[in-house]
């Protein structure tokens, strides 16, 4: 469920980033795309993750999902950097 809530948060964030498009133009679409792609990737790997957790608990040994953790963290960092770049350098369109 935690991954599901994260997918929902990314989807809501993508919708909010859409609000920037009238002000900052098409560059803000990069934020929408990054959020949406990350949410989609989490959703597509949901079954694999579930089976990994179930098998790990059954065998009392689980492999930490380093790649997924790193990817999600990197996506959020990229989103924040894109947002900072947009506020600082992309002029507001009148």
């Amino acid at each position: 469920m935690a991954w599901g809530r994260t997918t929902l948060s990314l989807t809501v964030a993508a919708a909010i980033f859409l609000r920037w498009m009238p002000h900052h133009g098409w560059f803000s679409a990069t934020l929408v795309a990054t959020s949406a792609v990350t949410a989609l990737a989490i959703n597509l790997t949901r079954k694999r993750r579930f089976h990994r957790a179930i098998t790990g608990i059954k065998h009392e040994a689980i492999r930490p999902d380093v790649a997924s953790i790193a990817y999600v963290a990197a996506s959020v960092v990229v989103l924040a950097c894109l947002g900072i770049f947009t506020v600082l350098l992309i002029p507001v369109e009148q």
Binding site: S9, E60, R63, P64, A80, V87
Partner: protein, 132 residues
């Protein structure tokens, strides 16, 4: 501990070995709990991101452009720190569990508290002192 194949979900991959280093596998429930805590921090970071965008996009009537930009940047920088810090928090906790060391203090908690308090204080002062 028996080494399982990657398909079974147990054991280590090359990436896990390189990132996490040595030690013994903890109870899988602790690993999953650490993962859930990481995701909670990520959701907090996303909320701060959305807040920064909302301030910059929705508050043109309330704040001037410089004030709006400052508050939005503060929120976005806070989101960056929390998002990036959450990965290192996850990594440090995972390594501590494997080495049976004491868990590290989460420095991103005071960063969030101080940063969030600062933004709230700035906005409260501005709302109180601005001419009606």
């Amino acid at each position: 501990m028996e080494n399982f194949s990657a398909r079974s979900g147990g054991g280590r991959t090359g990436l896990s070995d390189r990132v996490l280093g040595g030690g013994t596998e903890p109870d899988p429930r602790f690993t999953l709990a650490n993962e859930r805590t990481f995701l909670a921090w990520i959701r907090t970071s996303l909320a701060l991101l959305a807040g920064g965008v909302a301030v910059e996009a929705f508050m043109a009537d309330l704040f001037g452009p410089e004030m709006r930009k400052t508050v939005a940047l503060l929120l976005l920088v806070l989101a960056l720190l929390i998002g990036g810090g959450s990965f290192f928090r996850w990594l440090n906790v995972e390594r501590s569990m494997r080495r049976k060391d004491p868990l590290p203090l989460p420095w991103i908690a005071p960063v969030l508290a101080i940063g969030g308090g600062l933004v709230a204080a700035i906005m409260a002062i501005f709302v109180l002192v601005r001419p009606s």
